[in-house]
């Protein structure tokens, strides 16, 4: 009997040790996260039905990271960036489903703060991407350093205007209360001396309004430079310049890299554009979410950087993929 106990005891110990050692030897150590439900990404605007090229590329980055880190990601969002309340409702609905993590590109700096804090209080880690919220509860903010991007735009306008020290700069902003707009404007104003700024025009993120406002701006002969703060207002402003054939009088720097913008750039209507790295944003957002879910430390702010693109460097190999995302052609 005592030998039986001895026998069984050593068997059990042997098996335990064996299993431990065997599993320690696991070759294809698959340390992917196992999630019950997908990580939810709430975009400012979904790609379908929208020409917003920027978000397409964000989604490509998201998909690439999801594949690399072996997680499921569900991407939702309102049809248009202006639908702020719709986005608030969407975030609230997402919280009810308790996803493992929420990645949010906030349409409004203040209005989205409450739903974000609600999500955090129910235990859902929130990562903001591109546009943050007025809250310190998010675990990470992944975006272009928009102040730095604004400074690049302002600096380029200043450089272009250096032959004409009398000129003033008009800022064509997309939305009054969005963090990106606020910060880029601040960057521009930091680069340009205060008396050189003719003013800021808000365009409700609408290309046509931007066109109209730019026509208005062009009435003022002291304005020699225009900085447009996102893709849509850049397109509207560029169209106004082309229509009035004032490209030689106006130094214009825009943001983003829609194909039409690049055509404007090639034609010399747009002198430069500050291009963000949306692909990297999407990729880093998912990567950071995965890191956080694995319990690793994450940086509270990740700058994905921006690049100043001119007609001279737009076909350089390093920027081709950035400016002309391969999927679209």
């Amino acid at each position: 009997m005592r030998y039986l106990v001895f026998f069984i005891g050593s068997m059990a110990a042997a098996l335990a040790l064996f299993l431990v050692l065997t599993f320690a030897l696991n070759p294809g150590a698959n340390d992917d996260l196992e999630l019950d439900s997908p990580i939810v990404v709430v975009m400012k605007a979904t790609v379908e039905g929208q020409p917003m090229n920027f978000w397409t590329v964000v989604q490509l980055g998201i998909s690439e990271a999801a594949k690399e880190f072996g997680v499921d990601v569900e991407i939702i969002g309102p049809d248009h960036e202006r639908q702020i309340h719709r986005q608030v409702n969407m975030v609230n609905r997402v919280i009810e489903n308790r996803p493992p993590a929420l990645i949010l590109a906030a349409s409004d700096y203040n209005l989205l703060a409450e739903p974000v804090e609600k999500a955090v209080s129910t235990g859902i880690p929130v990562i903001t991407v591109d546009s943050g919220v007025n809250s310190n509860q998010t675990i990470s903010f992944i975006a272009t350093d928009n102040v730095a991007a604004g400074m690049k735009a302002g600096g380029e306008v200043l450089r272009l205007l250096s032959t004409n020290p009398e000129g003033r700069v008009a800022i064509v902003s997309h939305v009054r209360e969005t963090a990106t707009a606020i910060e880029r404007e601040r960057g521009v104003r930091q680069a340009v001396r205060p008396w050189e700024v003719a003013g800021t025009w808000y365009c409700e993120n609408d290309e046509d309004i931007a066109y109209e406002k730019t026509l208005e701006i062009l009435q003022d002969p002291t304005v020699q430079g225009i900085v447009a703060l996102n893709e849509l207002v850049t397109l509207g402003a560029a169209r106004a310049i082309e229509d009035t054939q004032s490209q030689n009088r106006i130094a214009m720097v825009g943001f983003d890299n829609a194909p039409e913008e690049l055509a404007y750039l090639e034609r010399g209507i747009l002198d430069a554009t500050v291009v963000q790295r949306p692909y990297n944003m999407g990729y880093m957002a998912v990567k950071t979410a995965v890191r956080a879910l694995k319990g690793k430390e994450v940086e509270s702010w990740i700058d994905t950087g921006s690049v100043l693109i001119t007609a001279n460097n737009m076909f350089e190999r390093d920027y081709q993929e950035l400016l002309f995302p391969i999927e679209d052609y």
Binding site: L25, P27, R267, L322
Partner: protein, 587 residues
Amino acid sequence: MRRIVRRMGTLESRFYLIFTLVFFATILTMQIISTRFTITSVRSAILENSRQLTDELVEQIDSYIAGMVRISQAIMENPDVEDYLAYKNVGAEERLASRFAAYIEARDDISSVILFRPDGDAVSADGTDPSEYTNVKKASWYRNALSSEGRTMVSTAYVQNLIPGHYSWVVSLSTAVPIPGQREPGVLLVDLKFNRIKELCESLVVGEKGYDFILDAGGNYVFHPSQQLMFSEIKQEPVADVMRVYFSESPVHRTQNQSYVVARSKRTGWYVVSVLFDADLVTGWPYVHLMNALTGLVLFLIVGLVTNFISKGITRPLRRLQEVMQSVETGEFLLAGDLDATDEIRELAREYDLMVGRIGELMEANTREIELKRKSDLKALQAQINPHFLYNTLDSIIWMGEMQKSDEVVKMTSALSRLFRISISKGNEIIPLRSELEHVRSYLTIQEMRYKNKFRYLIDIPEDLQDVPVLKITLQPLVENAIYHGIRSVDYTGLIEIAGKREGNDVLLTVTDNGQGMDRAVLEKLLQITAPSESGNKAGTGVRNVHERIRLYFGEGYGLSLEEKKAHQPETKMTRITIRIPSGTEA
């Protein structure tokens, strides 16, 4: 804990522990090696498979490019080309334009076909002019074509911006077309949509995470699924290693958990790299591990049982031997005999048996010696009787001689003579009852003469008891006792009766007197058989000798017993001593 440590002291436990540890280590090592072997062989099989896939991919890319080169060559053989280039023939230009359009129509993977004259004029499928913002002659594909002397050059992947506002990822095939009579040739450009190559790359991947990427001969990316991460240095591929291993024995580069399989396109000089993740290699590792663990367990159980069996086989005979040896403690000398055990233990058992046998012999010899000593003591005891009686008898004979009773002297002397003859009896200890009775009669004759009319005697032994073997000189001391302690001091004529009868297998001989009886102390002495015979008190010495001798000879169950009874006359008692002896056949 201490119990376990002590238990480890047993041979069986040690065997068990050592065997278990050794086999455990062996099995574990075996399993680790076999698992590693499995991993390695599975990995190399999959890598081999992946190499074939990558080679196939390269072949597809090459044959695709080759097909396009053939199209370029076909276009160049068209006489309209020369007409257009040399003479700017409008008809030729129109025909070429429609022909180019037909190619683009037929092949949806051709992005554009354009023929350039050295002066910058061009003919294209849809008649659109190359971008006024683009200086064609500075483009690398154009310069490469000029420097390659008629061979078709394949560019890397890039964004073609020849048409304003229209940007597409292409791979350009450019060929210089010599113009007769002119130093500078024209250039034919065929742009392939890069999507086709990208689709090829994406169609041949291994596993969920695997992907392909392409480097040009200079190590620049032609295609990478996450190219932007490379350019912004978020991710990096080991480009230098990948290009190096292509020229090594095995074109596979290993990092911690992925493998890069490299192949090279001869047509383009591109390195096509297929990336495999170990996690994708075999999805059933948990199953493999479970099987390994189960195999290990089964082996273990078998080893455990075998170990148990072996250790029991060694210790069981030892235990048996130990039990046998323990019998020595109780004085029982058991022999181990032929144990079912190994030679060493059998040898040990044999030695033990020899030793026990020797001890047995020694003890037997010892017993024999003691026996001999006892026998010699006995002889001495027997001898004790003789002088005692001889003295009395001789005394009587002297007395009778003095009284001139010569007849009586003769009678007594002859009786004494008979008495001694029987007493000697050729040294035999055992004599028939008949002889013993004669001895007693001789003795009684002597005593009767000594104590005139003091007593009468009666011998009543059945004829069938006459030949019963008895120890010599057994009755005489009792008769002597009856005379001296029973009859001598009474004032009436005493009676001594000697009788005998059978009781079962025993024979009972009785000596009865009706004298004064023995006093209590003598009686006690008689019963205290085992007490050493102190010769201080002569009374009863003879009786006790008889008792001891009978018991020595015949065993504990035999000997004397004594009874006293009040007789009918008030002063007299009847004293009877009974001798119990075996009926004799075995004595």
